[in-house]
């Protein structure tokens, strides 16, 4: 249930990233590659993939980041026994156990830093 709801909410984000990436691949690039003797598979690996790669990674990073910190869906739909770190932070904090909350929050931040770093460097190089 939780996975389905994640899918519904985050799929558009991922697809959006992929689509933006695909739009950079003009059809004339493909034609040009075919015209120079590359077959379809080689055209995909040498032209299409390198051009969409960054977009796909960015889309993935974005979804990863959003899923990590997502709280309301997880709270409502999680099966018993499953705790995400965001849920931990929330429940410890609501019980006043701020030391425990801080630990989870720190881990959460540390893990999120990685995709955030990818996303921000990508924007800087543009």
């Amino acid at each position: 249930m939780l996975i389905i709801s994640y899918l519904i909410v985050f799929l558009p984000q991922a697809v959006g990233g992929g689509q933006a990436a695909m739009e950079q691949v003009k059809s004339s690039y493909i034609d040009a590659s075919l015209g120079m003797g590359m077959n379809k598979f080689m055209t995909f690996t040498k032209i299409t993939l390198p051009l969409i790669y960054k977009g796909l990674v960015a889309g993935g990073a974005l979804v990863f980041l959003s899923t990590m910190k997502e709280l309301p869906q997880t709270l409502l739909l999680r099966p018993t026994g499953l705790n995400t770190m965001a849920v931990d932070v929330w429940s410890y904090a609501s019980e006043g156990l701020f030391t425990n909350a801080a630990f989870s929050a720190f881990i959460l931040l540390a893990i999120s830093a990685f995709p955030t770093y990818i996303l921000s460097t990508r924007n800087l190089t543009r």
Partner: protein, 341 residues
């Protein structure tokens, strides 16, 4: 210049997109070693013709031959990667993630690279200063040269150029045009250039094929096309002639600008090129100058007769014509075609 080996030949090729007929009964001959121009207005099917020859699209019907072998027909299909045809796209289509050097090397096999073909092409196209740059860092003219180098690198049978100079400013276009022609001639490369620019087609090509509504209506040397167009459409596509209506009886046709000899009988279109009309200032003249546009190397004078019909003449810049001046005319050459009913 004589060419005697046919490299590409299309027979009755037709193609439509979404029920719109783009090419119909398209017949084109391309001679080995020639620069063949396809001259047509936008929407006449020029780019489609190139795409069919390159193999990016498949015709609905018809035959394409290369070196006397059928490469496209109802039964036969040679995919684009096996045709050894180079193409320079209108938007150049340089791969943005590869450097200039890697773009040019893209179509080269291991053997070519070992034999130093890459350096040869880079030197030939004067690109050695740019090899480490990326396409987005280059000017339009530079991108164009890289695109040509990339197309020439694998020694293709023929290079197709889609409106190669239209996106450049006029001066750059002229410089590059000379460069490209020299390069093609030096390497004895066969080329097909698609363009809507008549001056480009006439000055660059050995053979000009005029495309109109998906059909080649005349294919000949630039001189032949200009001096002996087969129809009003061809005459209009090269130069800007005065077209007069007339009716020929016993080989003589009477028009608003005088009586001329014609090989045809009946209803005619008479084409008179502006440079074939000589104007003489004459206070008794029967024509009145309406307007004069000065271009430097020549000028175009529009003048009208007593009925108010307006014609154009082109003359050298040394005589000054002003609106209202009276002139007489002398016509050196006319072309006549039977009118289409």
């Amino acid at each position: 210049m004589a060419f005697d080996n046919l490299l590409i030949r299309t027979r009755s090729v037709s193609k439509s997109y979404d029920e719109e007929q783009v090419l119909s009964d398209f017949n084109l001959d391309v001679w080995k070693g020639s620069i063949t121009g396809i001259l047509g207005s936008s929407g006449s099917g020029k780019t489609t013709a190139l795409r069919l020859i390159a193999g990016f699209d498949r015709p609905d019907a018809g035959i394409i031959e290369m070196k006397n072998e059928v490469i496209v027909s109802d039964e036969v299909w040679l995919p684009p990667e096996k045709r050894n045809i180079g193409m320079v796209f209108q938007d150049y289509a340089l791969f943005p993630h590869l450097s200039v050097e890697k773009n040019i090397a893209f179509g080269l096999g291991k053997n070519d690279l070992e034999q130093g073909r890459l350096k040869e092409v880079i030197d030939m196209c004067n690109l050695s200063g740019l090899i480490n740059k990326f396409p987005q860092e280059l000017s339009g003219g530079q991108q164009q040269r890289v695109a040509l180098a990339r197309a020439l690198a694998p020694n293709p049978e023929v290079v197709l150029l889609d409106e190669p100079f239209t996106s450049l400013d006029a001066q750059m276009a002229r410089v590059l045009r000379d460069e490209v022609v020299e390069l093609l001639k030096n390497t004895e490369t066969t080329a097909i250039i698609v363009t809507h620019d008549q001056e480009e087609a006439l000055s660059v090509c050995d053979v000009v094929s005029v495309l109109e509504k998906g059909k080649i209506i005349q294919s000949s040397t630039p001189q032949e096309i200009y001096l002996n167009p087969v129809s009003k459409t061809v005459a209009n596509s090269v130069g800007d002639p005065n077209i007069l209506k007339g009716f020929s009886i016993d080989g003589r046709v009477e028009t608003s600008l005088g009586t001329f000899v014609s090989a045809y009988e009946g209803a005619l279109d008479v084409s008179i090129r502006p440079e074939c009309i000589e104007l003489n200032l004459d206070s008794e003249g029967s024509y009145i100058v309406k307007e004069c546009t000065f271009y430097g190397h020549d000028q175009v004078i529009s003048f009208q007769n007593s009925k108010g019909e307006v014609f154009r003449a082109r003359s050298l810049p040394n005589t000054i014509y002003e609106a209202g001046d009276k002139v007489n005319i002398e016509i050196s050459e006319v072309t006549t075609f039977p009118s289409k009913v």
